[in-house]
């Protein structure tokens, strides 16, 4: 009883926090100063100074509006990456958990290869081929993100397959495809809902990392990772240029993890299954960091 109560509070708090963050990022840029407008006379204003709540950077650009419009880019890219990687991950997970022998073998090996390849190296290789742009960034995130989702889906498909309802469906005459989509499919939904926020938070970190290495969002478009890259140079003079974007990333990710945790407490009452799912996913997920 107490557990589910806690879960509900957690879910409520983190969802409202997320709505607040999205509101600031989506609506904020309409009311804030232009994030690209530079004014060298106003460079390096400290936070809480007049007109600049979060201070200004080396070119005198307003840090708060850069956080807001950078967040817009980061969130958009991450949500697209999350949707793409979950879709591909679910399909590949279904295939590798299925009884199509050859297809399952091929997709298993694909997952292995993809996991064997640190995604930053993959990004370096891909970016050396094409110059970086937003579609490429999303593509990279999907490429890096699908195997972790596929592994989780695969393990659930494998654990559902011996259950009675699946056998019953087979006896009634449903073929493999129908069993996977119509019968096992619905059983995957709670898991997908639980890993979606976790995946989104991993994507935000990934976007920031790639932009920090100069492989993601390119200046002058602000992004949280790019702001950290700019701020790195002024670490000893202007602490707020690195602290604030980093906090933005950390708070957003913690909020998303909170949503995931709250959802999983709500959806999977059975605690052992929940821990199994989460730790399974987290260990797979961390593979990409």
């Amino acid at each position: 009883m107490k557990k589910s109560y806690q879960g509900r509070i957690l879910l409520l708090l983190s969802t409202s926090m997320m709505i607040l963050i999205m509101f600031v990022c989506l609506v904020g840029p309409f009311f804030l100063p232009d994030p690209l407008a530079f004014d060298l006379s106003a460079a390096f204003r400290t936070p809480l100074s007049a007109d600049h709540l979060f201070g200004t950077d080396a070119l005198g650009r307003d840090n708060l509006s850069r956080i807001a419009s950078g967040g817009r880019v980061s969130l958009m890219v991450s949500i697209l990456g999350m949707l793409g990687s979950l879709t591909i991950g679910t399909i590949m997970g279904l295939i590798s958990g299925s009884q199509f022998r050859i297809l399952a073998y091929v997709s298993d090996r694909l997952i292995d290869v993809q996991m064997a390849f640190p995604y930053i190296l993959l990004a370096i290789v891909v970016v050396s081929i094409t110059s970086s742009s937003l579609p490429i960034l999303v593509l990279l995130m999907v490429l890096a993100g699908w195997p972790s989702a596929a592994r989780v889906i695969r393990s659930i498909v494998l654990s559902e397959r011996p259950k009675d309802y699946v056998k019953a469906a087979q006896i009634v005459g449903a073929d493999q495809k129908r069993v996977l989509i119509r019968y096992i499919g619905p059983a995957l939904i709670p898991a997908i809902l639980t890993i979606a926020p976790l995946q989104a938070s991993a994507m935000i970190v990934m976007e920031a990392t790639l932009s920090f290495l100069g492989l993601g969002v390119q200046p002058p478009t602000p992004s949280w990772g790019g702001m950290l890259l700019d701020g790195k140079v002024y670490l000893s003079q202007a602490w707020w240029l690195t602290t604030i974007p980093g906090l933005a990333i950390a708070i957003t990710c913690a909020t998303l993890i909170g949503i995931g945790e709250g959802l999983s407490r709500k959806l999977h009452g059975d605690r052992s299954r929940r821990i199994d799912l989460e730790s399974n996913f987290i260990s797979k997920l961390s593979n990409k960091k």
Binding site: R109, V125, F212, L228, G246, A250, T252, S283
Partner: protein, 308 residues
């Protein structure tokens, strides 16, 4: 034996697949290294001579055959930019990266064992709550940001540690703590969960009844069994460590694989880039293989079927 064979075979397939695809993908689509090597106004003759020197004037199949020939005696070709064998650049860098990764792994496993065991002992105590907080921060905060904060606090403000480079043991402290922080959460959660399930086992009651001290029960009897799941996570963490060390190397100016890969990227230096990629991916595959094999030795119940 069959298990061993199939694992080794699939590891080989993965390494070969990565080698071939990296070789061709880079060559088909990346920029012209001669242009980057020559200055902006270099004329065609100069560019042609660079192309001849790099071998990029020949057909791709021809280049691949030369590359394979080199591989048979352990050469990965010459770097375009540094004009020396890629192996002489990659191997020292790999060594540095591995040292960094091992330090980070050591720190994080020690912390995971300490924090995980204590938080499993009292799941609602302060210790468990503190560890859960650390886990959430570790999962949410990007690694490079943690690194920047550590530099800001410990080298800019306090001046305790150098902020970058690699000249001695002291330089390892900040980067390895940064890296450790990124793999700590999953290790700690897994260990805490498995210690908690082990505590319900009968043998714990037995040793307890024998009057053995608490710390001995936890750290000798329980830990030995609880470490098995940790080992698989460590296998996955090797990927995080290799990928994460690339980022940490950039933050801390650490001369490892990652810094080298970025140099290769900016100079369109295919041999260097493909050398780094192949060596890093093979290292990762081999470490995972070793961990799988170790797992079967420690826990004989695990067979290929039971593993998945």
């Amino acid at each position: 034996m069959r298990f061993l064979f199939s694992r080794v075979a699939s590891a080989l397939v993965i390494v070969i697949g990565i080698t071939v695809s990296v070789f061709f993908i880079l060559r088909v689509t990346a920029g012209d290294p001669a242009r980057i090597r020559g200055n902006l106004f270099a004329n065609n003759d100069v560019l042609e001579s660079y192309r001849r020197q790099f071998g990029t004037d020949r057909s791709m199949i021809d280049q691949f055959v030369t590359f394979l020939g080199g591989l048979t005696h352990g050469s990965l070709g010459d770097s375009f930019r540094y004009q020396q064998p890629v192996t002489s650049l990659v191997l020292p860098a790999l060594q540095n990266t591995l040292i960094l990764a091992m330090c980070a792994l050591f720190i994080s496993i020690s912390l995971a064992i300490l924090l995980g065991t204590f938080s499993a002992r009292k799941p609602n105590g302060y210790f468990a709550r503190g560890s859960a907080f650390i886990a959430i921060v570790g999962q949410s905060a990007p690694l490079f940001w943690v690194g920047l904060i550590l530099i800001f606090v410990f080298s800019v403000n306090l001046g305790w540690f150098p902020s970058g480079g690699f000249n001695g043991f002291v330089d390892l402290i900040l980067p390895s703590f940064t890296l450790a922080f990124s793999i700590l959460p999953s290790q700690m959660r897994i260990l805490a969960a498995s210690v908690r399930t082990e505590l319900d086992e009968d043998y714990v009651k037995t040793v307890h009844a024998f009057g053995i001290q608490k710390w001995r029960i936890y750290f000798i009897h329980v830990l030995r069994n609880a470490c098995l799941p940790l080992l698989t996570v460590v296998g996955n963490d090797m990927g995080v460590l290799l990928g994460g060390s690339i980022v940490a190397e950039v933050v801390f100016n650490f001369p490892g694989i990652g810094s080298l890969a970025l140099v290769g990227l900016n100079a369109a230096d295919y041999p260097l880039l493909q050398g780094v990629t192949i060596v890093a991916a093979s290292t990762f595959v081999m470490v995972n293989l070793a961990i799988d094999l170790l797992y079967t030795i420690i826990n004989p119940r695990v067979r290929l079927g039971a593993l998945s």
